[in-house]
Point group: C2
Chain length 264, copies 2
Amino acid sequence: MTPKLSEYLAFAHRLADASAEAIRPHFQTHLTATDKKDRGNQYSPVTAADQAAEAVMRRLINETYPDHGIFGEEQGVENLDAEYVWVLDPIDGTRSFLVGFPIFGTLIALNHQGTVEFGIMNQAISGERFVGGPEGAFLGERRIKTRSCADLADAILCYSGPWLYHKENERRVFDQVAKRVTLTMHVGDCYNYCMLALGMIDLVIETELNPWDIQALIPIIEQADGIVTTWNGGRVEDGGQVIACGDRRLYDQVMPILAQAADA
Amino acid sequence: MTPKLSEYLAFAHRLADASAEAIRPHFQTHLTATDKKDRGNQYSPVTAADQAAEAVMRRLINETYPDHGIFGEEQGVENLDAEYVWVLDPIDGTRSFLVGFPIFGTLIALNHQGTVEFGIMNQAISGERFVGGPEGAFLGERRIKTRSCADLADAILCYSGPWLYHKENERRVFDQVAKRVTLTMHVGDCYNYCMLALGMIDLVIETELNPWDIQALIPIIEQADGIVTTWNGGRVEDGGQVIACGDRRLYDQVMPILAQAADA
């Protein structure tokens, strides 16, 4: 890793610490959620914790690297033409946060001219911190790796919840996969991708992701020897239809099914 | 609380400590799950962690109170005619445990001639410990209370997952409720009932629960001013169709819907 990138990664850890500090006082308290109404007729909650966590990260970035850009879920874009752009989701999994489940995460990615240099997923309550970058994928100090799973019948599939699949063709192919696996979990957001990188589960299949939902997770998954692509095999930096898989053989079984509903 | 009950409650905390110690080394490791095949064609996983946690609790009970009975999920019944019977679920939420989500729990109830004297829900990873008994409902040292929610349209509903509803009539009434709430979460097991007692959510609606799935939770919910009954308004010590609710007004709205599929 270059000295500059090391410096940026150390700074990203500061962002993770600061966001966790902003989030923790709100966890399992009586928060009000506001429906952002940015997902058609789907519920899209945001809370004071999301706002506080994004604000503190933006302030630190602006103070420390005023020439860097910011692409955040809650508070918009700044200077997107910059060489380096921080892509932030203060609370990915606001539903889980709202009900008191510690399986949401803060996502921090550093995007350099279209490529994610490194990503962090920080769980503010447990302190679990997943990092993916040029030196590998880690949970805390421990190097992590996906597990092998050659057959869909043995797989564990996770996704964020049924609300994700409101398009009939996407739901149909998702259900085709889901009915063949051992176990499907209907919750999890970014935590699912990290459990895949950790070798706990085999498959995540989602749609309509935003760039800030996925960019930090790309190096965590790939450096753990996982695969993450769009449903047509392309790059996922822009979000959309996403498949993550721990084993190439499983990926090859699932892709022909997803292809039926893949965007061009 | 009588001196005897205080002694038993102190002992129950030892059981919670010991079970957590048995569970922790297995969490987020590459465990094999066995399908117990005790739920028809539904997946019903058990792991070495469930077995180890139940075994250590049974050993402590047998050593300390050899005249007490035990009713455990994984290792059967002993001396059910005893005056005091310990009702144990070493890992409620084995699916969550399996995929690495720290939202499962160890359930410990002391049943005295049909009535639950106290219950503990212990989260082995976070250390969260919910206790309900004659002195109230607590998370750690903090007294807890359900929140008010007068209208179904404002409610958050949780349940363990779609696999629970394989009977058509039960699924239909569940869906009728679910389509009217703000947010439904499809995971959670015992953690949901504790989040209800903590005032984070409003409603849990489930079916086919076993006595060990619910007994420890009854005093936690009721002492937090919540309501927990069967779908026909009866006692839930035996499990079956269960509704838990944080606000009587909400309960009165939901019960007529559930009544359409309530067991006699």
